[in-house]
């Protein structure tokens, strides 16, 4: 693990889980991502990120109820941990610091 830095996709997922509150599982995260970030992803990509984030300690999971739509299979619902919030916060702070250090809001192209 390269420090506690989040990748861009990881950050998005973490944010999505946070925003979905108690209803965050792979399919809902995928749908949410499509909706908000206009990102088309495959379910397998979501799976790997979710489980990796859990391994890193940024997410915890619990089994949610099964629905008939799922063929009676359990689903794993994720929640952001304190560490997860901390690392999100850190990322946000970092960006804000950078934003703050940009001298004026003029851009070379304009």
């Amino acid at each position: 693990m390269k420090g506690s830095n989040l990748g861009e996709f990881e950050e998005l997922i973490l944010l999505t889980v946070a925003s979905l509150d108690m209803e965050a599982y792979a399919v809902s995260v995928k749908n949410e991502l499509e909706l908000r970030a206009k990102r088309k992803t495959t379910i397998s990509a979501i799976h790997s990120s979710l489980y990796r984030l859990e391994d890193k300690g940024y997410l915890v999971s619990a089994f949610g109820g099964a629905t008939s739509k799922r063929g009676g299979k359990k689903k794993r619902c994720f929640q952001v941990t304190n560490a997860g919030f901390a690392v999100l916060q850190e990322a946000k702070n970092l960006r804000e610091k950078y934003w703050a250090s940009i001298p004026q809001l003029t851009f070379a192209s304009s």
Partner: protein, 878 residues
């Protein structure tokens, strides 16, 4: 399909939720874009899930310290080896011996199968056999065919690419007045050098043998006569058969040992053609004859020709050509083809090219079986000993396990151990084989060379054996040892594995059964050999020196020959001399058809001829059963004939007495039978006794038999040699003693017996190792019991008996199993001999006793040490 993929790809923990997720998306998609697309997507997702293959897998054993662990294993192996020197030595030695025995056999078998494979055409080269049939019965089955058949086949059969004939003979050659008697002289067609791979080092193969009186010799012959190899253009004088100087037109490499057709001299076929010209027709008899079967004929067929089909087709063609002759003689001929690669191992016909070298395919096959068998026994033994030893390693296993070793690691450890031991054994075995190859080569009478070890196939086989051996012999101990439960082991309790004991018992019984079989086999082979050497052959061969006769070279020869015999007879050391065309122990090539004079050609049968002088039967002390011997005083005896009892029977005469006075016809000769001699064994007891007739011919000078009085052979030899050179200056003087000469027919049996003995020794050794292992094992297990028995007052002898009893029973069982086996196998073997011994009960008893004694020694050592130990030591560890 998708579900199955997921189940394979995703770890067990996650599989359900992932499937659930997929299912949910699938349902959504069915709604939005239809079943087909949804299914395709599902499948795609499933495939893409491969990226999550490693997710949440149970942690694998990641041996980051593989190298140190292996180092540790090896260290442990050598420590255990060193701790138990005797045991380790026995174990490795047993394995090494097994491997080397196996390697020797493989080497030998490989050599036997390599015969005639060096010819690049070997797959399409055939020898033409010659058979004379009367109805269904094959009367003559001969390796050499008639000279006409080769050319005839080529003319009539489009499948024949080429043919070559080889007429074998012995001859005397001379250069600068030094004479040499030479064997392996072949008169051959020019194509001989073309269809066979006998490369010339000097001269031109295509033209070397085209003209008459040309000669091609081998390198070593060139060196013998000229001291150098480039001798093309030189001349050698041929003295026998047709005295003629021959011009050397080529020198070939020496014939490889693994060729069934060996030569030192090749004489051009035209040479013989010129001497057999029929004056009326102008054709050579050696080209046109359909009767003279002395020509080994080889044909090269087109690639892919089926010999069976060819034989069938040729039979028809032949019948067309020869049917008049068949009707006249009421006999037919057949010329079946025989692949040349089969000749060495599977052919046993009349007039084989190298009858003394003839191999035996069955024996070779049998030996390869034995090789596999030995290897398996050696491995089994390793398994046996290591499992027996496993108890001592149990503590180590316990400690390793409680330190966190996985079962898999322990299995690795023991497999590596088995690999190391197998490797050590292999190194020793290779050393042994390389060291002993010359000795074994002599024993097996095959020129095995160390060059065999340089072949890549050999090393491939070695690596294969090593790998297979390590796994096979290591697997059982590895699983057994690694399955021990650490707590129980460390507590000192050992679970006795019932199946393990059964397995070991089975192995011991198996090994001892093999040993008993081999011992009994050795005894029987030895006794049969003795029987053959000792049994009454019908003639006397002690103190008999035979001189190969000089060749007749001029008109004074007959007189000189007679004088020579008289001079020999005059010597005080010589009791009697006789000259003949043949002596006992020498195969007879001289045959004729014979019948009673009043009968017709149909009743002809084949007789073998030995022309003799007046003293032949006296010299060999061959009994005359009825009638009388030839008499010097009766000049009319040249019209009379002596025959043996087998010939009497073949003539259809009931008794030797009735035969006297009967008139017979053989070849073109009419004779009256005046005497019948007993069926003495002209050839070894392996052969049937053929009908023999003994025409009187005082001038037949092929062999001179001298019965000696004294025993100072060296002086007699010198004395006779001097007389010989006196009468026949320059002629080579060659002699042999008849007993030696006769017994060389048993060379194969002697080898067989020696090989048997060797394997018997090996089997016993290995079996003892197994028994030793088993005893140690069971003694260890019963340490406590023995301790208690001793405390309660049992004596050493009682304990030895208790411990040995079990094994002696096993050995007994092995004996019982082995007996029918011995009987079957050996009876079969003995059936090869016309005169054979019966398998008596003593053989079984002796071999059983022998094995029992050896077993007792093997068991005794261990049991004695155990029963002598202080009971305190045995009981203290509780």
């Amino acid at each position: 399909m998708g579900i199955w993929l997921i189940e394979v790809l995703i770890s067990e923990e996650l599989v359900e939720e992932v499937l659930g997720d997929l299912e949910e998306i699938f349902q959504d998609r069915v709604k939005n874009s239809g079943v087909v697309k949804a299914r395709a997507h599902y499948f795609l997702d499933a495939i893409l899930s491969a990226r999550n293959h490693n997710l949440r897998r149970p942690k694998k054993i990641t041996q980051n310290n593989t190298v140190p662990m292996i180092r540790n294993y090896i260290k442990t192996i050598f420590r255990t080896l060193a701790k138990n020197r005797v045991y380790s030595a026995l174990n490795i030695l047993g394995l090494a011996l097994g491997l080397s025995a196996c390697l020797f056999i493989v080497q030998y078998v490989n050599y036997e199968y390599s015969y005639d494979k060096f010819h690049s055409n070997h797959e399409n080269l055939y020898r033409v056999r010659y058979q004379i049939l009367r109805g269904e019965e094959i009367q003559v089955d001969c390796a050499a065919a008639v000279p006409r058949v080769g050319p005839f086949m080529k003319e009539t059969m489009p499948e024949v690419v080429d043919f070559a004939r080889a007429f074998p003979m012995e001859a005397v050659f001379a250069r600068n007045n030094i004479q040499y008697r030479e064997k392996r002289v072949q008169i051959v067609d020019p194509s001989f050098l073309k269809i066979f791979d006998y490369p010339l080092i000097h001269g031109d193969a295509a033209s070397a043998l085209v003209e008459p009186n040309k000669l091609v010799i081998t390198e070593s012959i060139a060196k013998k006569y000229f001291g150098e190899t480039d001798v093309v253009g030189e001349r050698i004088q041929l003295l026998t058969s047709f005295a003629q100087p021959l011009e050397i037109t080529g020198v070939t490499k020496d014939v490889p040992e693994n060729s069934h057709l060996k030569y030192n001299f090749l004489v051009s076929f035209e040479t013989i053609n010129q001497r057999t010209i029929d004056e009326e027709t102008g054709n050579s008899y050696s080209e046109t004859s359909w009767d003279w079967y002395d020509f080994n004929t080889y044909v090269l067929l087109k690639e892919g020709t089926d010999p069976a089909y060819f034989n069938q087709k040729f039979t028809e063609v032949l019948y067309e050509e020869r049917k008049e002759e068949y009707e006249r003689s009421s006999a037919t001929e057949a010329f079946p083809l025989q692949p040349i690669t089969d000749i060495h191992l599977y052919s046993n016909l009349l007039q084989e090219s190298e009858p003394q070298e003839q191999g035996d395919g069955d024996t070779v096959f049998f030996l390869s079986m034995i090789a596999a068998f030995i290897l398996i026994i050696a491995w089994i033994n390793y398994i046996n000993l290591s499992t027996a030893k496993s108890l001592e390693r149990a503590k180590e296993v316990g400690v390793r396990k409680s330190m966190g070793a996985y079962k898999r690691q322990l299995i690795y450890q023991f497999l590596i151990e088995s690999f190391v031991l197998n490797f050590l054994a292999l190194v020793i075995a290779l050393g042994l084989v390389i060291l002993l190859t010359p000795i074994f080569s002599e024993l097996a009478d095959a020129p095995l060379s160390r060059a065999f070890f340089l072949k890549p196939e050999f090393w491939l086989a070695i690596v294969g054996i090593l790998a297979l051996g390590s796994v096979l012999s290591g697997l059982y101990p590895a699983f057994l040892l690694s399955s021990f439960r650490p707590i129980q082991i460390l507590k000192g309790k050992l679970t006795t594995n019932k199946s393990g004991i059964f397995l070991r018992r089975f192995l011991v019984v198996f090994q001892f059964a093999a040993s008993v079989t081999l011992i009994a086999g050795t005894i029987i082979v030895y006794r049969q050999l003795n029987h053959m050497k000792k049994s009454d052959l019908g003639f006397e061969m002690t103190d008999t020196m035979v001189i190969r006769g000089p060749h007749p070279n001029d008109s004074t020869f007959a007189q000189r020959f007679k004088s020579f015999k008289e001079e020999l007879n005059g010597k005080s050391t010589v009791r009697l001399t006789s000259s003949s065309s043949n002596v006992p122990g020498e195969e007879i090539f001289w045959t004729r058809g014979m019948r009673k004079q009043e009968e017709t050609r149909e009743s002809n049968f084949i007789v073998y001829l030995v022309s003799v002088d007046y003293d032949y039967f006296d010299a060999y002390q061959i009994d005359i059963v009825s009638g009388r011997n030839y008499d010097r005083l009766l000049t009319t005896d040249t019209a009379n004939l002596l025959i043996n009892e087998a010939a009497v029977a073949a003539l259809g005469i009931n008794s030797p007495q009735e035969a006297i006075g009967q008139k017979v016809k053989y070849g073109g000769n009419n004779r009256t039978i005046i005497g019948v001699v007993s069926n003495y064994h002209q050839l070894s007891l392996k052969n049937n006794i053929n009908p023999l007739i003994f025409p009187l011919d005082e001038s037949s000078a092929d062999f001179i038999t001298a019965k000696l009085n004294a025993s100072d052979y060296q002086a007699i030899y010198e004395d006779i040699k001097a007389s010989y050179h006196n009468f026949f200056p320059g002629a080579p003087f060659e002699t042999f003693f008849l007993d030696e000469f006769y017994n060389r027919q048993y060379v194969n049996e002697n080898h067989f017996s020696r090989t048997f003995t060797l394997f018997a020794l090996f089997a016993i050794f290995v079996a003892c190792l197994g028994l030793f292992g088993l005893t140690s094992f069971s003694a260890l297990q019963r340490t406590k019991e023995i301790g208690i028995r001793k405390v309660l007052g049992a004596g050493v002898s009682q304990i030895v008996i208790i411990l040995s009893k079990e094994f002696l029973i096993l050995v007994g069982v092995a004996n019982v199993i082995a007996w029918p086996l011995i009987y079957l196998i050996m009876n079969n073997w003995l059936d090869n001999f016309t005169s054979r011994i019966a398998i008596g009960i003593p053989v079984f008893i002796v071999s059983a006793m022998l094995v029992l004694i050896i077993a007792i020694i093997a068991v005794g050592y261990k049991t004695l040490t155990i029963s002598r130990t202080n009971p305190v030591n045995a009981l203290r560890y509780e």
